[in-house]
Amino acid sequence: MEIAASANDAPALRVRGYWRTVGYRLRYDYVTLFFALVILLIALSAIFAPLLAPFDPLKTSMAYRLKPVGFRSFLLGTDELGRDMLSRLVYGGRMSLLMGLTPVVLATIIGGTLGVVAGFVGGSINMLIMRAIDIFYAFPSVLLAVAISGTMGGGMSNGLIALTLVFIPPLCRIAETAATQVRGLDFVEAARASGASTRSIILTHVLGNVLAPVFIYASSLISVAILLAAGLSFLGLGVEPPTPDWGLMLSTLRQAIYVQPYVCALPGLAIFITSLSFNLVSDGLRQAMDVRI
């Protein structure tokens, strides 16, 4: 019966588009789905922080300094100034996600454009762009971020600029490699032979094939960005106190690590879970979006 039915179905063969195929693969990838849900929850809690936070994250209280987890109405304890940890973690997620996503998005746009132009045009323009990018490669990314935000001074926006600059080189390189590969393929030649403009060829034929590897790599950079942003805040170069930020909280609580070890570990745990989730989701996306060219 099964066979007969499928034979009858043959003429109306279901043809799935690329994105439908990706969706189909993701639907059965439970690990990716679970961690995507975690990211969704973190994002939602950050967006609705004012509704979720039981206390004002900036309100200090000398009486309730460094209380343990579950102390009275402080669900996750209090920090060294008696501020509610849960409220601060929820609000801190806003800052951390902002610091994690914005530089990656900006760097993807800037680095991706540079890379596609360098790869597609080739020749001396490629030389110019890629050698300039190589200069950035000479420095370790953490050192570069610290150096840039150090010279520009602290503050959130300078931290964002520093992180963006750090992420442009690798994204540019990925885009350039993909664009160079695509440029040599016959379908780009065929598009040129049809008399289409360079702009149209890039938009229709190059971008679609470059986007996937760039997108996958960018999604893996989000966790790096969160960690680097936390690192900058830890060094006092990113977000400034008293704004709640996971990295900054980790930094200020480290003196109290022997008094309340569990409370002090909470911001670190938040960073860990978030970056792990982003990493695993980007891994799952890479597998789902894999297409044989």
Binding site: A193, G195, A196, T204, H205, V291
Partner: protein
């Protein structure tokens, strides 16, 4: 039944019905400018030397003479076959004709109009009139576009609306033998090699060109599929009133499809003429060796020794005089001293070859109609399976 036999039967049928007449261009083609006797494409002294860069500051330290002073004409409504060993410049020639790479020297005249000249044809106009089918069927389709969109891309780039493009694509899919409702929305990875190549042909036809360059268009396909696609191409040629330049290294296929054949060696034309003349009475030693290297279906014609040994010389540093002389059994001093001229092309029955032995005044001792000791070409495998007499 073996697939090759299927192809042979079709070939025999084709021969029985007689070759399509060369002057099939009806007087009513609105795009025709110079009349049926004006060549579709005239190529004069085409040259492409790829630079080899190296050393300090990327200096030019040499050049690969991929296409070196090539001249020929493509007549309206004919199929011109281009054959030669790999690396002889066939594909470079195709890309030069399509203007995908700039030429170093030479001129192209499309139906009486110079290309990229004042008062001539613009590149965009040329590309509407001349299209190309690429060899690698998989890399010549964008993996992220449904094939319908790939076909419609050309017309869209020339100003067709989305609906018009879709209509053109669906019509052409049907013309190349694919059901548009079944294949239109598919992605290239969902098609077989033969289906992809059909889509490629449809894409090339989307701009309604007058001339098609088929660069090894069927070489990568299975023999059975190859025969199907070849017959489809024959149908399309008549249906759309096309002129073909058919590039291939497969001598049998070229014999089957071509009206005239051009033989290339190391970036130069060594022989050009009607297909019967080339395959029955080849003049150039290289063409004869090439034809002798075919495997015959007749065990009596078994090839025990390779007629051609070694590889073509490096095109960076081609031999002086005749470029074939290194591998030619008849080479003499005159061959190294002077480059043989190919002579003047007069009309479609002209059979020219660039060899000193054909020129009594060249001083070559073997100069004459056919050098002594050379057996005529073995009969082609097509003829043996179809049991036909001499054409």
């Amino acid at each position: 039944m073996k697939p090759t036999e299927g192809a042979a039967v079709t070939a025999a049928e084709g021969l029985a019905r007689g070759r399509p007449k060369l002057d099939t261009v009806p007087p009513g083609d609105a795009r025709d400018r110079g009349g049926k006797n004006q060549p579709m494409l005239a190529v004069n002294g085409l040259k492409k030397h790829f630079p080899i860069r190296g050393g300090l500051f990327n200096r030019r330290i040499g050049s690969v003479r991929a296409v070196d002073d090539v001249s020929f004409v493509v007549l309206k409504g004919e199929t011109l076959g281009i054959v030669g060993e790999s690396g002889c410049g066939k594909s470079t020639l195709a890309r030069l004709l399509m203007h995908l790479i700039p030429r170093d020297a030479g001129e192209l005249i499309f139906d009486g109009e110079g290309v990229e000249e004042a008062h001539g044809l613009t590149l965009r106009e040329l590309r509407r009139n001349m299209q190309m089918v690429f060899q690698d069927s998989s890399s010549s389709l964008n993996p992220r576009l449904p094939v319908e969109d790939s076909i419609a891309y050309g017309p869209r780039a020339h100003g067709a609306s989305r609906a018009q493009g879709k209509k053109i694509a669906r019509e052409l899919l049907e013309k190349v033998g694919l059901d548009p409702s079944l294949f239109g929305s598919r992605y290239p990875h969902e098609l077989s090699g033969g289906q992809k190549q059909r889509v490629n042909v449809a894409r090339a036809l989307a701009l309604n060109p007058r001339m098609l360059i088929l660069d090894e268009a069927v070489s990568a396909l299975d023999k059975s599929i190859e025969a199907q696609v070849l017959n489809q191409l024959r149908y399309l040629k008549r249906h759309f009133n096309l002129t073909y330049v058919f590039i291939s290294h497969d001598l049998n296929v070229v014999q089957y499809v071509s009206d005239r054949v051009l033989v290339m060696y190391l970036g130069q034309v060594v022989e050009i003429g009607p297909v019967e003349a080339i395959y029955d009475r080849a003049k150039h030693p290289y063409t004869r060796a090439l034809l002798n290297s075919r495997l015959s279906m007749n065990p009596d014609d078994r090839v025990d020794e390779a007629p051609l040994t070694g590889e073509p010389p490096n095109p960076v540093n081609p031999p002086s005089g005749c470029r074939f002389r290194i591998r030619c059994p008849f080479a003499q001093e005159v061959c190294a001293a002077r480059t043989p001229a190919i002579g003047n092309w007069i009309d479609r029955s002209s059979h020219l070859a660039a060899c000193h032995m054909l020129d009594a005044a060249s001083g070559h001792s073997g100069a004459g109609p056919l050098p002594a000791g050379v057996a005529p070409n073995p009969a082609s495998p097509w003829r043996q399976t179809s049991h036909e007499g001499a054409r």
